[in-house]
Chain length 314, copies 2
């Protein structure tokens, strides 16, 4: 095992990037970013081994990527532009240095992909591997909160949903399909659509805990209810078929399983169809109801592994 | 046990503060700070149960305070003014809700004491309690790094050292003395002296791992060596006496035990005597050597509990 300071030096070498926005990067007591004109958006997210990720189906690079990408996705939900991040690792004694460096590589890849180099961090010993990602971004022209949904708004979601949860299910059944496994292993926050979403959205959130639960956070913050029509959910036909082959329903996986990191939002006017799909409506009352094609309410099983994890804000 | 969302609501109620610098606080996907004129200083620190703190000698409020204060101290070391912070808690299933709320209370007290309200956070389940504190601050007029020490500079430290490590030793021997226990339980970052330090310092760091190890970080970053004269260390006479009563030496505790959260710095001109005490010199070479009154080199035992913890930067 490397000496602590050698390990830090190697992690630093993997994460450091020349960036004019960074005045002081990794290696001092604090990092310093150059001034930014707008407000500063920031969020923190911790991924715990066996709770938020499963080493059986993920490489350490995947674990690094998805931890950091999940935190970045919170910036996309608010329409903030990513600038940088910090990383805090709790490392159990039996974790090999090469695994730690692979986690750093995965974080660095996600940071490069979304323009958010890691500018500082911390390593600690502990019994349980955990990865805490802090992200910093610049406020966009419009900021979308969870709290702006109004009765009569439509409910929309970007991209396709259900693929990430399906990817995980297929892996667990030893029947992986690369495209779905990748959706789960390497989520991509929708910075490409965040501005278009914010230009129409009355409220927004990212799909991390499962669409039903995430929509529930919007409803609670906005003091409204929501109706979702399950047949309107944008599910890849190939995902629907693969789900059926293992006795699952891709729409149900999207509603309960989450981790698609698409943007879920409400708006009074529809966005362009290449931005998002309408899946339901905001109504009076509280809570989220999901209706099948016969108008019958569908019960959603929430993903148990997110207990005490999601929805804690910022 | 409270429902997850009830627990979050109660934590939020304890941490939320009305603050004109905060545009969006706890409860959304990310927090948003109003623009700040200067650069943004940020750091992250994780405290792990049994590694960085010991529940036997600390209340949960103490654990919250010292975790957050330790992170804030990194801002003091750089002469950044604290603005806010984020908190990520990993909570084992057997930890009672009242304990979680007490941790939040301790964090809130430290945030109030140093002007850094918590504006966001996250809770996760896990097997091991850990507290990750993220701090955000505004760059000062002068920023002090670890890397500016020059041969010929004096080495200085603010305040009195050794009291925190002594406090812990006394607690462990069931011979607590309140004033020293408080120094260990409730460290106070030296924001009161940070500006005066930065006005003369060529390099600076806070004393978190032990004075010898922290000075070693300055030496490494600056590519210099340091000599410390043990008799010059500013030790409270009462601490010296209490240390002797349990067979310890307060100066050795300061050098190896750390957690004083004083500012350790180098400067070519001496600061006013009420700011800091000169304890040694920067010399050619590498590493820190500590000399006793006879000019003999003293071996420093490093605090073992900081393995894989300190000096990781930012």
């Amino acid at each position: 095992m490397l000496d602590e300071f050698d390990l830090i030096a190697r992690i630093k070498a993997r994460l450091s990037r020349a960036d004019p926005r960074v005045r002081v990067g990794i290696g001092d007591d604090a990092a310093i970013l150059a001034p930014i004109a707008r407000g500063i958006a920031t969020s923190v997210d911790t991924a715990v081994d066996g709770v938020h990720f499963d080493r059986r189906w993920l490489t350490f690079e995947d674990i690094g990527w998805r931890s950091y990408a999940a935190a970045l996705s919170d910036l996309a939900a608010m329409n903030a532009r990513p600038i940088s991040g910090l990383l805090s690792l709790v490392l159990p004694p039996d974790l090999e240095d090469v695994s730690v460096l692979s986690i750093a590589d995965g974080v660095a890849e996600a940071g490069d992909a979304f323009g958010a180099p890691v500018i500082g961090g911390n390593i600690s010993s502990g019994r349980e591997l955990s990865i805490t990602s802090v992200v910093l971004g610049e406020e966009g022209e419009r900021t979308t909160l969870r709290s702006g949904a109004r009765v009569g708004d439509g409910v929309f979601v970007t991209g396709l949903v259900g693929a990430a949860a399906l990817g995980q299910k297929l892996l667990a059944k030893h029947a992986p399909i690369d495209v779905f496994a990748a959706r789960w292993r390497r989520p991509r926050p929708r910075f490409d659509l965040a501005r278009a979403v914010a230009s129409v959205a009355t409220s927004a959130i990212d799909v991390s805990d499962g669409l039903a639960q995430d929509l529930g956070h919007i409803c609670e913050a906005s003091a409204v209810g929501a109706l979702v029509e399950i047949d309107l959910l944008p599910v890849d036909p190939a995902a629907a078929e693969a789900a059926r082959s293992i006795g699952e329903d891709a729409s149900m996986l999207a509603l309960g399983g989450g981790e698609d990191y698409e943007l879920l939002f409400t708006a009074s006017e529809a966005p362009p169809p290449d931005v998002a799909t309408r899946i339901g409506s905001i109504v009076r009352g509280r809570g989220v109801r999901v209706l099948d094609r016969n108008g019958e309410e569908v019960a959603i099983a929430l993903a148990g592994h997110r207990h005490r994890a999601g929805g804690s804000g910022a």
